[in-house]
């Protein structure tokens, strides 16, 4: 399969962030077109495209929009999820930093379709300071040209966007954590139901969509649903951004029709494994996704196929690990992440993620006990499905999959009090680790 430049068509142009360059390439034509359609026609077109959300869960976007009640007593809101904190994910940043107008155009159309009130927020992770400045500048340009503000292009539709910066909390990427954070609270997820489409931010119906999802919307309006479906396979449609990192020669963001083969992506497009080492494991969808072994990677990277293989496409953050990486240490690092990022609301997640980290650390240090592999599984069992949001389930994905698929390596640590001889030390064990 060849790489495509559809979503990323503009990023290599000089001055790609300026509105003039964007307009030259046919930009904001989709807004003109959409504002002449009815709201329902826009939603139907997105439904027909069979696009599934690019934020992680792969929920059909048109269907999500159609859940928003009409004539709700409170205003309806659109929130763009630009939190991009899932380890291994760095695609939304490219869109925001290189082609901000594509996102803005997508938001105008989406807001129109859901009947949003005149303000929407781009909730961008606080660390993306540069991205926030690029967006702010682009928003000013769009306001000056009349694409934002009152009575856009004479349609009677009023709409504006504010960039809301997060402040360093992964959990604010979870949609109800994001809603809490926009309201000015700690980003602690809410119990669902009520779902955000019914009661979300400021008490009104709310649609939360990922950056890449919203950036696809102008393409669908311009080219039609059939065109969008010509990329990928039924139910897994459209152009898709894949982030590849870790032990590959050419890491980066790659665009393909949805469903590029994972093995082909790693070996043919990313130049294979760094230093000609052997592949050990692949995480196909960000830190939350269960690991795959080398004999499991001959599969198309779409939502359904990866799920069938026992993992998930998630945010399409593909982390490649070679055989110099100690699997216990790698999983410890991810467990440390989840322990740090647990919002602390539910006991199984708050306490359990800390225990996973501690037990993995002691195995790595050669202090593991014979029953520790099973202990990790039973602890995971007490977190999964027993906590409020999906972070709890995410935290156990890498643990369960690695204990099951690399049990020998865990047992080797416990018996020999050392890592496998072919592995390399990537961190010093004597360095104090900051508490969280």
């Amino acid at each position: 399969m060849d790489q495509i430049k559809v979503l990323l068509a503009n990023i290599d142009k000089p001055n790609s962030t300026s509105i003039d360059v964007y307009l030259d390439g046919g930009g904001y034509k989709a807004v003109e077109k959409a504002l002449k359609m009815t709201r329902d026609e826009v939603t139907q077109l997105v439904k027909d495209s069979e696009m599934r959300g690019r934020g992680g869960a792969g929920f059909p976007t048109g269907m999500k929009w159609s859940f928003v009640p009409k004539n709700a007593p409170k205003p309806t809101w659109l929130l763009c999820n630009a939190d991009e904190s899932e380890p291994g994910t760095f695609k939304d940043r490219v869109i925001m930093e290189k082609d901000p107008h594509l996102l803005i155009e997508g938001m105008i159309i989406s807001a129109y379709a859901i009947g949003s009130n005149p303000m929407a927020y781009i909730y961008i992770r606080g660390e993306f300071y540069y991205g926030a400045t690029v967006l702010d500048k682009a928003l000013d340009e769009a306001r000056a040209k009349g694409y934002l503000g009152k009575n856009i292009l004479g349609s009677g539709f009023d709409f504006d966007i504010t960039v809301a910066r997060g402040a360093g909390a992964y959990i604010c990427g979870e949609e109800t954590g994001l809603i809490e954070s926009v309201e000015g609270h700690r980003g602690q997820p809410r119990v669902k139901p009520p779902f955000p489409a019914v009661i979300g931010v400021f008490g009104g119906p709310t649609v939360v969509n990922n950056v890449e999802t919203l950036a696809c919307v102008p393409l669908i309006i311009n080219n039609g649903a059939e065109w969008f479906k010509s990329f990928g396979t039924p139910k897994n449609t459209g152009p898709k951004l894949y982030c590849v990192s870790g032990s590959v020669r050419k890491p980066g963001v790659y665009e393909f029709p949805m469903g590029i083969n994972l093995k082909e992506l790693i070996y043919d497009h990313c130049g294979g494994i760094l230093g000609d080492r052997k592949l050990k494991a692949v995480i196909p969808g960000g830190a939350s996704a269960p690991m795959l072994k080398p004999d499991e990677i001959d599969l198309p990277l779409n939502f359904d196929a990866v799920q069938k293989a026992g993992s998930m496409l998630g945010s399409a953050g593909i982390i490649v690990l070679d055989d110099s990486v100690c699997i216990v240490d790698a999983v410890w690092r991810l467990a440390k992440f989840f322990a740090h990022e647990s919002c602390g609301q539910c006991t199984p997640c708050r306490e359990g993620t800390n225990w996973l980290e501690s037990v993995l650390d002691r195995i790595e240090r050669g202090e593991g006990r014979p029953q520790d592999a099973d202990l990790l599984l039973s602890m995971s069992d007490n977190i999964g499905g027993k906590s409020l949001c999906a972070l709890g389930d995410a935290a156990i994905g890498p643990v369960i999959s690695s204990v099951k698929k690399f049990r020998d390596e865990f047992m080797y640590h416990i018996e020999h009090k050392a890592c496998l001889p072919e592995t390399v030390r990537y961190r010093r064990l004597d360095r104090a680790v900051a508490a969280h």
Binding site: P87, R125, V253, A434
Partner: protein
Amino acid sequence: MADLHPDNPYAPDRFPDRNKPVVFPPEAKKKFDYILTRYPTKEASLLPTLHLVQEVWGWISPEAVLYVGELLDLSPATVFGVVSFYNMYNQKPVGKYHLQVCTNLSCMVRRAYDIYDHLCDKLDVQPGATTKDGQYTVVEVECLGSCGTAPVVQVNNEYHENMDVTKMDALLAELK
């Protein structure tokens, strides 16, 4: 409270000094007034206001917590609860250069911990602490969303990508 419970890690460092209130300088006050116009509730302005506090003073002092509470009609406890929840709000002063090394998995397998260890050793500083001259603070952070150019070190608001120990030394030489 800190005095009453010297071992309680959850106690804030100290009570605010009510004799030394803080006030936004005029430029910042203008920005604050603009922030208020962008949200339907005052409370929703809390996160951007705290970012502004940090821009002005470099950290969020107990006095600033009181001040923000007054500005937004929130209790100091509510404000502090938000400050302590989010990683990026500094509850203590940090160095002129805040060296934030990502050590999450994609950076780790590209030897991010070497950079982190090197910084701690060379600057003779404990993780999370600031050098005695107040120049540098070294911390380990979670994934910065830039794994394709790992390892990544964020210095204040700026990303430095594809780093290694040599490049880190060269960068340090520039940060005076």
